[in-house]
Symmetry: D2
Subunit: 299 residues, 4 copies
């Protein structure tokens, strides 16, 4: 079926052809910023954005995210990366990566029955607010097929039962083998350690509570029982600890005794979809560094 | 030392001489509102404010808070209460109470070394925003004496050590025997079950986290380790379960990786004092009903 | 084209067959609550929710919204209304209305080119969160036809030019003659006094600023120029004064110097759609009373 | 009278002896970051924090705030500044300044009758949260003398009447001649253009509304009349246009129809004092650059 929608072609200045992003982490010591900016300057690059953070100023870790423009980036990038690896990166024992801003990450979105988070991503993608390539939607249910295909996006129904868990996962891993990031948009199946190992800090989940409160199942019912006056949602990278991975973003909304569990779910949906969309956008813009089960988000 | 400050005499309309507050809870059934308003009407009272809430509409509990004006309230109140007890309250198996709005609750504020919550209460009391009588401040340290006495409020230094816990508590209970409500304004000692039993739902504590996350000690350090993007504070009634009692009020503030533990404490202080002050004010205005470890706040 | 989506059939308890809503405003005086609840009680109705508000307690206006259950409401309602009109309403000089909670309001949504507010309404309608009947979408552009029709909702393209304004309006008024409420979901044409007169307090507009700041055109550019640190959106009833009608709901989001006008629009879209959706839902649930260019929202 | 309180000696790492802050603005062009970091590196300085912002990436203005450590800063600073002026600053046509982080700004706080903003500043100063020197409090009323002097801070009562405006201002200017920044903490007198000219972008005012809404007098009454659902406060630099200067910080709080003007004032006070305190702290930490009646806050 021909798509009802096509992504908009927003040409924002921070995504143009010669824009690159560099993320670095290394042991803190004097001279890092000077060394990096000198390196880039020598290679004809102009730094247009820079955010840094030092964890524990008395000798801890240093993180920096730079955006720079380099004429003919496409052709120059490989040699720039080679030079950097052999000089500055080695000298400062850096972990680092450089990506082209114009390159869209390929995302696979996993969904079960609740569609609000998926819809938010689809519409943000369509409007150009989410600068990424939604390569596919994978679901253990068939319900969302028509909607997803109306966006011109492939839909894969992969049923999961306790007996077929392993085969289902194998099928999923095959589907996402060329994907950069997996987004669990209220996908209710547990992701296995095998799967997680293939996508370290590249699986983003939305948990429908304000972590670390109410981990696990039925968080809105848990919130209702505790009588909290504020509920929230949390987007995080998936690790082997259920709902325990590095938190990327959270947001909240006030509630009162008048809100029963159904109302909490209804209010919570709006928070969930906004929080997940922010997290996915920041991840797609290479704004997140992870360290010791926490994130540094340069936004 | 003569006080530097005296409480302001704000005569707000909802605290005048003939204003009363009635709180009722009973099993839900048809006719409650009609019965109560007819009763009050027959006794010459005019209902000026009414808030109700039915927990579980299919046969659950009914809660209502009314404010009414009754000419010559002072003289009429006793007989009105007697009549209500013998008629409507009995008929509907009500738990209820009626208080005079002009009557100020007597509060005892307990504090340790952190003074921000106490100061907020003192200044709100002085400005008339907190309509209550701060009868005394009790502390296990001597630090706040001068400040508290400059407000014209008695200060009692009751040191507490592991060996003297029992005697200290006995002294405290003696001091607060005529007090309506105890406010723990970052008071760091554990309140014993004996003490709690004397003040059921009448001890308000401020816990410096967004419950149920980070119960117990050093919640800001816990929050820092978890890498949350939002911190908060919670005011609750004290029960035997540490930080587990009914939540009265919560609020939050956004933080980022830039905020170390000291910064979290600094940001958190503002939330703590505002949240505690709100909770104490609502309690002083008889706006809170408690049921099944949760509160219904009519505000 | 057969719809991709059908509205869910959420049977929430506050919308069942025997539930009615009553809104009253009248000069404040003793006995109103008693009179109304006695009346309802005599007619066999059970009050399940009650919210009141007195503007200016020293002799001002009294407002109350009640929800009550009446067995066989459908058959009883007409006579109950007749009796109320002749007795209590007359005695207290009340303005009042009673509606059946199960009856869905018929809405017409007007849209121009920005689709986010419309989409939010469509998805909330589909999920059952918005309990109303979206009878049609009217637009001065053809762009949204496919999307709207995929929801099974009629789409009317009514172009508007300076020369054809009058005919266009005549056509619109004809289309909406059986509609309860008109929702302007980022509809960019000015509504004429004639149109407004047909729908007093029944046209809800979303203005993309935090009123009364930045009325009129290009509010995000205005906000950017003023260098505000917070932007917002406002839902209000349309009156003859542009962006001057009674405010129903507002919300805000923090921004910084990093956000240029395009970013402000992007951030603002999320606020606009949530604020409009809340306002429309409250209006559909008969939660809003208007007085002196302000709203009382019983929520 | 000996002070009841003395400021705490918090030695935060970002205020130690060898820490300096550099703020720069200049026309944007390639190489700025490299040039500045090379300069600092050559002079033995280590950049520990860097925030930049380019207004209008296609050839606009560039802003950067750096924090760097330089051994023996006290002795080295003068020559570093001289060198910078003659080389990099000249080359890039920079406007710039460098200050020592350990140096406290001298503040004069002006107050009228409302004391909440002043008290917030005094307590934040006392706790060490506000790293500045409150050199004096100036007021057109005598009311706050005892409180201010209890903090060990000089209090100057300078009455102002229409006839004595000029002399009063002359007296104030004489008092504040050695002061860095004037903070108007709900000071209700208009500041003259003469005064403003002496303190360009160095007078911080708190206006009790969410600008640009409700400029001028009685903003809470204005807000009440407009029926807004959210109120706020704004801290800004004072310019000749009343309430029109560059906005530094704003915050808001939700209100409802239940809140009359007195309630709005009460709720508003908490926002005012927090917003003013944040703005003053950022200013004291040299985090604010101003351009075209807007601020860039590096926080």
């Amino acid at each position: 079926m021909s798509p009802l929608v096509t992504p908009s072609n927003v040409q924002r200045s921070d995504r143009h052809q010669n824009r690159a992003r560099m993320l670095i982490s290394c042991p803190d010591r004097p001279g890092i910023v000077a060394a990096v900016s000198q390196f880039l300057s020598k290679h004809g690059a102009n730094i247009v954005q820079s955010d840094q953070y030092t964890m524990d100023p008395e000798g801890g870790l240093f993180f920096i995210r730079l955006e720079f423009d380099l004429p003919e980036l496409e052709q120059q990038l490989a040699s720039l990366k080679r030079d950097f690896a052999e000089t500055t990166a080695r000298e400062f024992a850096m972990e680092w990566r450089v990506t082209q801003a114009s390159r869209k990450q390929r995302l696979a979105v996993f969904v079960s029955k609740e569609d609000h988070c998926l819809l938010e991503l689809l519409w943000q993608w369509k409007s150009g607010d989410l600068y990424a390539d939604i390569a596919m939607v994978v679901s253990n249910h068939p319900d969302m097929r028509d909607t997803v295909e109306s966006f011109g996006i492939p839909y894969h129904h992969v049923p999961v039962t306790p007996e077929t868990k392993k085969e289902a996962e194998a099928k999923q891993l095959e589907l996402v083998r060329d994907v950069d990031t997996v987004v669990l948009a209220r996908y209710m199946q547990i992701i296995s350690p095998t799967f997680i190992a293939q996508f370290p800090n590249r699986i983003i989940n939305i948990h429908h509570s304000f972590l670390p409160a109410f981990v696990g199942g039925k968080p809105y019912a848990q919130a209702y029982d505790r009588g909290v006056k504020i509920i929230g949602a949390t987007a995080h990278y998936v690790t082997e600890e259920l709902d325990g991975g590095p938190i990327i973003e959270q947001d909240v909304q006030r509630v009162s005794h008048r809100d029963n569990v159904e109302a909490l779910k209804r209010i919570g949906r709006h928070i969930e979809r906004i929080v997940l969309a922010r997290a996915v956008a920041w991840h797609a813009e290479d704004r997140i560094l992870t360290h010791q089960n926490k994130t540094v988000v340069f936004n």
